[in-house]
């Protein structure tokens, strides 16, 4: 793995300048917002809160100081591991994120694996049937799915499977009214099905098209011709040598798109009231929760960074030619 160290080091250097720049950029964006956080916090209770109390709230959050000073204070806090205090959840930002990451990770992780298996499998199936009816159906499906908003698919899934058929729950990560200990693994899995299905759609469509395209090249090439001459069936070529040929680039593409899964999870978690980081993102934005938005922005930056790094490592593991790029 001698090739891995320069790659990782190079990326860490890039992260070292990207992170501060992104922090400044995000802080600038968020302090530009015309939404008054005090008003967002007071909300319906406008009649109950006087101007003195508003000023007191603003002072408690440090909103009466100029933006540069607030950025300095925020940066000082971050250096000590303090990301500030979330307004909407009334808890430290790091605690909110830490509490919500597991739910999001379960959702995104399951969707990641599901869409990878389904996308690659269907892509290979389409390539095997290239030019035929099955191929055309699969490709049309992938194209339509890639032009569909994920949250609309989520609503349709709820309408069909939760309301009309009544098979699956439409909300939350567990049945309401139960404590964490009372929730069985079966309940958890049942609640996971529809959100995962929604989120998987986001990653499946490009994978189908990508895998199919790569495999068609392989199946029409000399290596497959050779295998055919040895008497292997088309299916064995596709799911044997073909799979090995296609899986590396597919994993690379899929990992590089892992950040987009988080974007999809913002909408999916909003639809399903899933208690994860995506839902918190939407709430923080509508509730003018600047500290939480900063924290989420920086965490997702790290997520994208890790996804891209993992993608490059996966590509090099799958294809040794990439390990030592010619200068």
């Amino acid at each position: 793995m001698s090739w891995a160290r320069p790659l990782v080091l190079g990326r860490l250097v890039r992260l070292a300048w990207l992170l501060p720049l992104a922090a400044v950029g995000l802080f600038t964006l968020i302090s530009l917002a015309p939404i008054d956080p005090v008003q967002a916090y007071v909300g319906d209770r406008t009649a109950l809160v006087g101007s003195d109390q508003r000023a007191a709230i603003a002072a408690a959050w440090g909103l009466d100081r100029p933006a540069t000073e607030r950025f300095g204070a925020w940066l000082g806090g971050v250096a000590q591991g303090d990301l500030g205090r979330s307004i909407t959840y009334d808890a430290p930002v790091s605690e909110v994120i830490a509490r919500r990451v597991p739910a999001s990770l379960a959702l995104i992780g399951t969707a990641f694996v599901t869409s990878f298996v389904v996308g690659t499998g269907l892509g290979i199936a389409a390539a095997t049937a290239r030019g035929g009816v099955g191929d055309r159906i699969l490709r049309s499906l992938a194209v339509v799915l890639s032009a569909s908003p994920g949250f609309w698919i989520a609503i349709l899934l709820i309408a069909v499977f939760a309301i009309a058929l009544g098979w699956l729950p439409s909300c939350c990560a567990a049945p309401p009214g139960l404590t964490l200990a009372e929730v069985g693994i079966g309940d958890r899995l049942r609640h996971l099905v529809l959100p995962v299905a929604t989120l998987s759609v986001v990653g499946t469509a490009p994978l189908i098209l990508h895998t199919r395209q790569r495999l068609v090249v392989f199946l029409d090439g000399p290596a497959a011709q050779h295998l055919r001459a040895h008497g292997l069936t088309e299916r064995r070529i596709a799911f044997g040598a073909g799979l090995r040929h296609a899986v590396g680039p597919a994993l690379n593409l899929h990992l590089a798109g892992a950040g987009e899964l988080f974007g999809g999870s913002v909408l999916a978690e909003t639809v399903f009231a899933w208690p994860g980081l995506g839902q918190a993102t939407a709430r923080a934005a509508t509730g003018a929760d600047a500290p939480l938005l900063m924290g989420i922005g920086l965490s997702t930056l790290l997520l994208v960074f890790c996804g891209n790094l993992a993608a490059d490592i996966a590509a090099r593991i799958a294809d040794p030619r990439l390990r030592h790029p010619r200068p």
Partner: protein, 283 residues
Amino acid sequence: MTAIELLSRGPGRARTSRHPAWRGAVAGGLVLLIMAGAALLPPAWLDLDIHAVGVPPGPWHPAGTDSLGRDVAARTLAALSVSVTVGLTAAIASTAIALALGLAASMGRGADHVVGVLTELVLGLPHFVLLIMVAFATGGGTTGVIVAVALTHWPRLARLLRHEAQGVAASDYVAVSRALGRSRLWVARHHLAPHLLPQVVAGFVLIFPHAILHEAGLSFIGLGIEPHLPSVGVMLAQSLREIIAGHWWVALAPGLGLVIVALAFERFGEALRQAAAAPGGTG
């Protein structure tokens, strides 16, 4: 890389794709139909009707009515015209940013680095998270959506244009032109512009479907178009409460309309991109 881009590469295509003009006619016709339909729509059709609350699709209400008795089909049409307007404005702005930054990056090393850092920053966050941040910074609303979409969709096209522009600038025929005493402006007009124009047009058409889908997403979580205006995202957000009562039709039409428009433009853009990339093609 978008899904559709992958469709066209390499061998094994089931059939040769149709001429871009056909798909352009489909996409353009669709937009005209939506805009004309929304403009001609009697305002009364968008009003509440307490005598027709939660009516399933039928001859009077082809897509049913919602819990306030509003006709879903009429509202969808009005919402799509808003989507198209927002999408076109944002896509034009984003294309302009991509063109400006792509050209700037091909001018010199310093500018190239700056554009590279900007691109890294924009691509460093998940796309939808960045959209939320920008929409939040501008205070949401229609303007906020347009700014958010415009500021986040340029990197891919900018990279492509930068690559193309650098290729042209390094080519022999530009060197010959310069040696023959042609001015930079002449070279830009006669060598660079014909090369970039098809890419810009294809890029613009491909940004458009993403723009309308992201607009709907932002409106859905409440950071987009104001709730009193008809918009697909807001309609779908409101439909969440209605499908619990079994009123599935409230969600069906708006989403379907959006998918049809997005699909028409993706296919049109893909055909254009193919034509633009073809060696010795229409470019």
